[in-house]
Symmetry: C2
């Protein structure tokens, strides 16, 4: 079960955890970023403590509270300030900006911990009768405002329905290669349960340590190794979702030609239809061999062409991640550690300058894993051969090791940067291959113009990851100095420019973060008016009173 | 464009086409089947000629006709008996039984051939205003009654909207590996258009020659080589569908985390929401090498275990098809040709008897194809190695050649058998691996009991095809003597028993045929009450007046 009390309430991840930089390395980074942003970085005012915040008292009447207690148990209904504040926001940049200033915004009237399907259903009934919204809350790691405890105008408030007590492995079907879980189980617990059967799901989003199966499903999540294992929708066999009108469930069959796939109505539904309570998933043999390596290309175009060819040829890699020149360059700066006299990767890179791997150079991380050494070796050999045809230069295993080590740690950097008055935000999209290179250029250009306009300076970079036969995800990072007087306006303006640029380039509104509050203004443009109406029609059948997660997707 | 006038109106496929058996071979088959069914086969009464049937005159008034002509053009509105009769049914067994007796049932009031999206939209508006149902009709090859021109009780009749004039290739995007078509294009035309770019879709359902892209999408079709190329939903990037309320369309992006996938609302919608007018599809390089072979197993369990392992190991085969012992045995009987003195496959099989490949023996067809000989060879070698570990015995290329030759011809056998007073019907499901073997046994047992009860005799057999990591499709064939006095009652009783047995075994209601009229009675059991309500909610948003294909899915 996620131990919420060990997590930061106004930042990423576990208390006490960080990127793990030494003080000297932090100093170097501060100086380096200051140089790039054209100003010396000053420590930001310290964040407001949780204890200093007094949320308005819960508006729940005694009758509703009693009904909720009857629904899911005495101890499962919590109205203390700590519970309510830790369920008031997710982990988006605007969430953190607000929380650090002590501006909490709407707070749930209560936090509920139902432990079985019946309790979930009972809570939804109470909420409907009491005109309360219900906001499903798993790991709470949404970076798009997906767990904000919003209520509709005709509702009296919102309940946060914490799913993390629904955390059991239900069964493993070795013959079919599937496993069934309650949906509130978190990443590490899910993998630990599968490890006992020598299995893995292979789904490792960056939020893996602090997110739940239900959250992955609700947001159409893609893990870092989705190139090999697929996105969560590829891994999903069957689902159970409790809605205010009853249970929607799909059958455990590998394929069916029976109307629209019910799983697909639930995948990406972001709590707008109901609470996902169970899922049966395709699992894989636990890999015994993993090989992750780096390769250098002269340009983003060369690297992207190599990635495209690898995917098109069906090379069974598990991960392909190509940084553009800006991200490659900044990663190298971030690697620098005064305590380390000699960095072989940096030295190797310096030596390649003479061969045309200069300012435009881009690092590709590629990896394969599986139960058989021979298959992994063969996949890596095939990937490398294709990379070489596009001018790729092997960088060996060191970049792969660094990726494995830091794969879940990178987000901690954001909190440290916020302490220096510097914001980091990320936005992602997916583009067809033929739109990918122009899209990358146009979006980065738009981001830089926006950063200049709204922050006076800033860095914008991207990597390509999650590749498909017909296109790939581009994941953008922006770093800019915060203007303490208008942090949220700054964010909003930059987010708006970024999203407009992404849609103008022909990209999807999001590749794996979801809609939440932040992407909602663009939703109709993306879905089309009637596409959105169709989903509202669906919602009206399962949630006619609008209990479920209002103000987000639908 | 599908040349409807060259097709049988009351049977499968092209006029003049057949299984291609010699007279002597037909005699042998008749004797053989008679022996197995325990009666001598008598020629059935000849089917009623189309010209002998006079449908009730079209109920369309002059005003509606004028509006339809304004909507899609003078020549695109047809009310002649020939057009109306050829759009009155699909190709299910009950369809053929009825048509052969001259019992046509409901006939569309008119057949419309809109040639662009605007004309489709205009037709839907006219239909809504005139209280007419619209039934999309592509190839008309539905085997579940999906194109029956039914009207709702509050409607005055049905229009058949023939999509086959929407048959253009719109664009090829070589870089993204996609191609966009109008959805009324038929299989051969689609493949011919792609062949000019050295591409293939790789989607070859048995109906390939007489079915359309829109039909494949509307029914979640799976081709014979879906093991390699995926089902139609795996091949679909983006769609446009015209509904009575406007256009639903999805974007050309490889993946998105934006609510439920709009493509998935259209895939399997069987015309209940609207008319699919365009699709962008993932295409593949045209294979230069194809290798299809046979392998013999001692039992269905051994063969299924081998197939499961091949799929689980990710061997890139394009086709795996394992006949059970009954189907294996009957296929051998069907192969017999008095003109051929020596059949090497049969001789080889006879020789294997001594090694335990006796009564329970099962033939697996396995194939791989692709642009590179080396990759195809490697896939076949890996498949063979796994097969051997499960007792598989190579049968070489002859069975593969026979499969390629007859892959689209088998259904012609049904018409010939109907001429002999013998019915053939097929039903398919998908089962998790752990339910597959018991399911196979239980369903075959139920089929045999049903055939005995309702036809006094009959053969039931199955093959496993379309495999997935977590399960596979079982495709059942029943052959039984028709009782001329109660052909439809016979069919209905057997179909009911079969479907009950399939659901009781934990299978999907259909793997790739769809719902149509025939599976509708079981739909609520499969979807659950609320799952069905959810889809009705969706329909109410895009088709509030219930114009689209009533009496089928929703």
């Amino acid at each position: 079960m996620i131990a919420r009390e060990r997590l930061r309430w106004n930042g990423w991840g576990r208390l006490g955890e960080s990127m793990g930089f030494s003080r000297a390395r932090e100093e170097l980074l501060r100086a380096e970023l200051g140089r790039r942003l054209g100003r010396s970085l000053e420590p930001a005012p310290p964040p407001v403590e949780l204890e200093a915040i007094r949320p308005a008292p819960s508006k729940l009447g005694a009758e509703t509270l009693a009904a909720l207690r009857a629904a899911c148990g005495e101890d499962a209904v919590r109205t203390g300030a700590y519970e309510r504040l830790t369920h008031a926001a997710g982990k988006s940049l605007p969430d953190l900006l607000r929380l650090r200033r002590g501006e909490v915004g709407p707070v749930p009237e209560a936090v509920l911990y139902p432990a079985d399907e019946g309790a979930v259903a009972a809570v939804l009934r109470v909420a409907r009768d009491a005109r309360l919204a219900v906001v499903p809350f798993g790991g709470g790691s949404s970076v798009v405002g997906g767990v904000a405890p919003l209520a509709a105008p005709d509702q009296t408030g919102a309940l946060s329905l914490d799913t993390t007590h629904l955390d059991r492995l239900l069964r493993v079907d070795l013959e079919s290669g599937t496993a069934s879980f309650q949906a509130g189980i978190d990443g590490p617990a899910l993998e630990a349960a599968l490890a006992e059967h020598d299995l893995t799901l292979g789904h490792f989003p960056q939020s893996f340590e602090h997110s739940t199966l239900g959250g992955w499903i609700a947001t159409r999540s893609a893990g870092q190794q989705s190139d090999g294992y697929g996105s969560i929708e590829d891994l999903t066999v069957a689902l159970r979702m409790v809605t205010p009108e009853g249970v929607v469930r799909s059958l455990e069959v590998p394929h069916a030609a029976i109307g629209p796939d019910l799983n697909e109505l639930v995948l990406g539904s972001e709590g707008a239809f109901g609470v996902i309570v169970e899922a049966t998933l395709r699992v894989h043999p636990r890999p015994r061999v993993a090989d992750d390596r780096g390769m250098l290309f002269r340009s983003f175009a060369d690297g992207a062409a190599a990635v495209r060819e690898m995917v098109r040829a069906g090379v069974p890699v598990s991960m392909l991640r190509l940084s553009d020149a800006s991200e490659t360059e900044l990663s190298l700066a971030l690697r620098r550690d005064p305590a380390r006299r000699f960095d072989p990767t940096e030295a190797a890179l310096r030596a390649t300058d003479a061969f045309g791997y200069g300012a435009g150079r881009c690092v590709l991380l590629y990896g394969a894993e599986g139960p058989h050494r021979r298959e992994v070796r063969r996949a890596m050999r095939r990937a490398r051969a294709i990379g070489r045809r596009h001018g790729g230069l092997s960088l060996g295993r060191a970049p792969g090791r660094a990726w494995r080590r830091d794969r879940f740690r990178t987000p901690y950097l954001r909190d440290w940067l916020l302490d220096q008055g510097v914001a980091v935000d990320t936005m992602e999209t997916a583009l067809s291959w033929h739109r990918l290179l122009p899209g990358h250029e146009e979006i980065v250009r738009a981001l830089r113009a926006s950063l200049l306009a709204h922050a006076g300076a800033g860095l914008a970079m991207a990597h390509l990851s999650h590749s498909y036969r017909d296109g790939a995800c581009l994941y953008f990072t922006v770093i800019y100095p915060l203007d303490a007087a208008r942090e949220l306006e700054q964010w909003s303006a930059i987010k708006g420019d970024a999203t407009d640029a992404i849609l103008a380039a022909g990209g999807s509104l999001s590749h794996h973060h979801g809609v939440g509050v932040d992407h909602r203004p663009w939703l109709e443009r993306e879905r089309g008016t009637l596409g959105l109406e169709a989903l509202r029609g669906l919602k009206s059948a399962v949630d006619p009173a609008g209990v479920m997660n209002p103000g987000k997707l639908l």
